[in-house]
């Protein structure tokens, strides 16, 4: 295969920096995702369908939808993020890319952070962009929709980050999808409470600055802690394989 003589092999002292490696992981995940566009659309379709179940299943009355709309959108967004989480590491696990990722000479939690960011860009962010349309459909007022979008913008990355831990823990297990939901839903409750609570406060005319700040604090906490837990969980799951 190769005939050229190469220089004598020496230990490698300087490798690729963490930031460059993160960028590469991020770019590859986006590229892979755009080759399989249907996978990107599925959580969005799911989101729309779950939201439309409520008028159909409970009541299409304006007063009910106005009252419950923010909660419905939040729950639907939470469920679609949950649905998409199974993909976060599974394909990489199946084709061996994950082994290579774990063995990269950079801190694993940073690489996990890059992957999770890509996951959010591909699922959470589109949900936020779709929210104004669905907000109008469940009779939310302009101000509520704006606050709803803001809470989802801060909240969905938290969902992705916490979800990454669950996805890493259930990697390679039978019925991983259901198990993942069981593990992660209890941990989603605070974000859900504050997400919908903030919108409710805004609808009552209260100032939401403090709540938004609190949600931002959740995000900071999730960014700093979740990648460590997810990285540890990935090593454990791979060790099993």
């Amino acid at each position: 295969m190769n005939a050229d003589a190469r220089p004598v092999i020496k230990p490698i002292r300087n490798g690729v920096g963490a930031f460059a490696a993160m960028k590469a992981v991020f770019a590859r995940d986006l590229k892979v995702a755009f080759r399989q566009k249907q996978d990107l659309l599925n959580p969005l379709l799911f989101f729309v369908m779950v939201v439309s179940l409520f008028p159909l299943g409970v009541s299409p009355e304006v007063s009910f939808l106005r009252e419950a709309g923010a909660g419905i959108l939040w729950v639907a967004a939470l469920l679609s993020v949950l649905l998409s989480l199974d993909h976060l590491f599974r394909h990489d696990f199946d084709d061996g890319t994950l082994e290579q990722l774990v063995l990269q000479p950079q801190p694993l939690f940073l690489l996990v952070l890059a992957k999770t960011l890509a996951h959010w860009m591909l699922t959470g962010l589109p949900l936020v962009l779709l929210t104004p349309v669905l907000g109008v459909m469940v009779h939310q007022e302009g101000n509520s929709i704006a606050v709803l979008c803001l809470t989802l913008l801060i909240g969905t990355p938290v969902l992705s980050l916490i979800g990454a831990i669950g996805a890493a823990l259930t990697l390679g297990l039978r019925s991983a999808g259901v198990l993942l939901s069981l593990l992660i839903i209890p941990l989603y409750i605070p974000v859900l409470i504050f997400g919908t609570g903030t919108v409710a406060a805004a609808a009552d005319g209260a100032s939401v600055g403090a709540y938004v700040a609190l949600m931002a604090a959740f995000l900071v906490l999730a960014v700093t802690l979740a990648p460590f837990a997810a990285a540890a969980a990935l090593r454990i799951s791979l060790s099993n394989g």
Partner: protein
């Protein structure tokens, strides 16, 4: 004799309440090819995954250049290349994109070097075909193209000859031998008969029956 790169002292591994191996000690020195031998289920892949740092279910000592491996993990990973059963190739990406992404984590290379490496494994003309349209052997060759441009001193190769044709096997044998001559260290598991001079061996499969 030069300093060992990787040193294993009294390695022991149990899996599903069965002892795969115990009191396993060996050194991997630069300039050698070491073959891990043993029947199916004797723990060849497990041993390689332990050496790579993927499997944590072992006891004993592993040293990298004299230091405990756990304390120099990043340095170890920078100097070690592992190719497993699963080749680490994304089927939605092309060979070029795959190779570029894999090298981006270790040593980014200009595209023509990558193209040359792919050509070296017989993939010229397939650079921009999505990998899912390639055969299993061709997909594996994408992973093997890394070996032509990798500069890590230690290679851990698990069943690299799977799905590779006879010519390919010969070429890899030559490559590994040349690698050893240049001062690299290679550990392989394979069912193929490797014909190489001065090859070292680690034989597994003795400790399976005894109980504690």
């Amino acid at each position: 004799m030069s300093e060992p790169l990787l040193q294993a002292v009294n390695l022991q591994c149990e899996r599903d309440e069965r002892v795969l191996f115990r009191n396993l000690s060996f050194s991997i020195v630069p300039g050698t090819v070491t073959r891990v031998e043993g029947p199916n289920g004797s723990g060849k892949t497990t041993l390689l995954r332990i050496l790579a740092g993927l499997n944590d279910a072992w006891s004993g000592d592993l040293k990298w250049c004299g230091e405990p491996r756990s304390s120099v993990r990043e340095e170890f990973q920078r100097n070690m290349l592992y190719l497993g059963h699963r080749p680490g190739i994304k089927s939605l990406l092309t060979p070029m994109e795959n190779l570029r992404a894999l090298m981006a984590a270790r040593r980014p290379m200009p595209d023509d070097v990558l193209r040359q490496a792919l050509a070296g494994t017989g993939l010229s003309g397939f650079e921009n075909v999505p990998c899912r349209n390639l055969s299993a052997g061709q997909q594996r060759r994408v992973a093997l193209a890394r070996l032509l441009i990798a500069d890590e001193p230690l290679w851990l190769l698990d069943e690299v000859f799977t799905a590779i044709d006879a010519d390919g096997v010969n070429a890899i044998e030559t490559l590994l031998q040349q690698r050893a001559a240049e001062g690299g260290a290679v550990v392989v598991t394979t069912h193929h008969d490797l014909r190489m001079d001065g090859m070292k061996k680690i034989v597994l499969g003795g400790g399976a029956a005894d109980e504690c």
